[in-house]
Symmetry: C2
Subunit: 334 residues, 2 copies
């Protein structure tokens, strides 16, 4: 009887079955072509020893771990959770697992965190909206295979998946404009956020089309508290409608305004961005630009998978958003 405590190795199975380790390996990897009684003997021996191949050793020999990493700035954000969830499920179908890393919104730690995490797996999906471009460029090579989220930039020879924030927010603004709003306020995202920059570009596009509109830009952030904190400022801004960086900020704002005694949308309209699962359950339900996060997660895995298999990877992809008109936006207060 072999030592009970430790796991059985391929050599032990081989010995017990009276064959070589090579044969055991072949049986377990469906590369075995010999007599079927030999295969049966191997399987029996393996079962008796409760043998499980060491994934680690296998990975080393094969040169691949069957795991990929996903680095996000904040795992607490439902948007990233949806991406993660979809990516994890899709990858699991191909036998891959995903390793998560949360940079806790601190761009300075991201390079180290990313490269450390990347070393343990075959590829990485990087969502680093605030990392400086030059740092990202320097990193890109050592991280490859790599897929970037929301960093559409021809400077990197890296497939990227991005949300069309620019036109999405412009369409939200158009919607407000049609409702009669002329004074808007934008609650911006975290400093240096690339995706915030895209939204601001969208707002500028919108302004160019409508000379009669004024948009106030505020610095908020990405969390509920950021929206909550700015409720007073928004009220005093004179704007009749607010566009938030994302749904979290919008939800915070919605609550803050409520606490100030304002009614949405009668006193002021509020729109978010992302369409997180809760957006339809706020009071009033939140008008927002719906982002296909699950599709994004699945697409991220597809890209990685192509690269890992040596297939030519699809190019950059820009995901459109869908306007989700709900009750938090309404006609201009009379």
């Amino acid at each position: 009887m072999p030592r009970r405590s430790s796991k059985a190795t391929i050599a032990e199975v081989a010995q017990r079955a009276g064959v070589s380790p090579a044969t055991v390996s072949r049986v377990f990897n469906a590369r075995f072509v010999g007599r079927s009684d030999v295969a049966e003997r191997v399987r029996t021996a393996a079962a008796e020893l409760a043998y499980t191949p060491s994934h680690l050793a296998r990975s080393l020999a094969l040169g691949q771990t069957e795991a990929v990493a996903f680095l996000v700035p904040d795992l607490a954000n439902p948007a990233f959770q949806t991406i993660l969830s979809a990516m994890s499920k899709t990858a699991a179908r191909d036998g891959y697992r995903v390793l998560v890393a949360d940079s806790a919104e601190s761009p300075d730690d991201e390079p180290l965190l990313a490269s450390q995490t990347r070393r343990r797996c075959d590829a990485i999906v990087l969502c680093a909206p605030r990392m400086a471009k030059e740092k990202l460029l320097a990193l890109a090579d050592q991280l490859r295979p790599l897929v970037l989220i929301n960093r559409p930039d021809p400077g990197f020879a890296v497939p990227s998946l991005s949300i069309d924030y620019r036109s999405g927010i412009a369409r939200l603004a158009e919607h407000l404009h049609q409702l009669g709003h002329r004074r808007l306020v934008y609650l911006g995202g975290p400093p240096n956020s690339v995706s915030d920059h895209h939204r601001r570009q969208g707002l500028t596009d919108f302004e160019r089309r409508h000379g009669d509109v004024v948009i106030d830009r505020l610095a908020a952030g990405a969390a509920i508290e950021d929206g909550l904190a700015l409720a007073g400022t928004v009220r005093n801004s004179g704007a009749t409608a607010a566009l938030a960086f994302n749904d979290l900020v919008a939800i915070g704002l919605l609550n803050g305004l409520g606490r100030l005694g304002l009614t949405v949308p009668d006193d002021i309209s509020v729109a978010g961005f992302d369409d997180i699962p809760f957006a339809s359950f706020t009071t009033p339900p939140l008008t927002t630009a719906s982002v296909p996060h699950a599709e994004l997660g699945a697409a991220a895995w597809r890209r990685l998978c192509q690269t890992l298999r040596g297939q030519p990877a699809d190019g950059d992809e820009l995901f459109p958003t869908r306007l989700e008109l709900r009750a938090s936006t309404g006609p201009l207060p009379s």
Copy 2:
């Protein structure tokens, strides 16, 4: 010039520095005690070759991967997200990464998914509220080191971390009782859920203390839709207050009741469970039992870490909940 494409190995660094691989290994692991110029030569050579030790090879030699797994029934649930987030951050501080696996609420797939995932890392945290006890028992041994969440059961010689759902829901019921409610309805969780069972026990405890109370038990589920779907049933039940399996169900119910024209808490009180981040931002803000998910996540890592280091692991832990009284519960309608 060595082949550019592939990564440098320890042997190449050794050759370039004119030392043996053993020395390079020692330098990189701070076990080096020799002349400092030798160490410097090694570091220079490594830098020139952009050498990064293969985590895989290191893991194989060391017998540990510095990764742990986390298996959840549904990654889309904010409660699990918070646990994951906390666990991931805590583990990262010790250089560990976490591997996620989502069983998509299908208990049948869990054993396979768990053991496959477990093989790739050093330990696993299992949250499988619906897996049959005998299956779990059979699994436990091959999964060890293992920490169970919400499966406090002396049958397993496995550390477990659990939420005190039983007394938590009883206290919520007490709260409603004090407000004058005598007819309650409970929107139960998924079938065979252990944590649902605990909640039901808590309700029974409560009933025993108060002969004047009637509690209707409904089968709901764990998601927003489940609460939403039952709004009509709840209204027709004649109950003046509803206790939901969790906040998601409560939020769904809140919305469903609103659509039916009922006002919470004037017409009916609603309480949730978990205190997910959104619970304080619903309308009205949700009364709930606050669960320390982040602490739970951190504690899970601590347990694993102790076991991995061979220290005696702390025993089972039962996390108390904190009553979070908000505006969704109010006095009995007059």
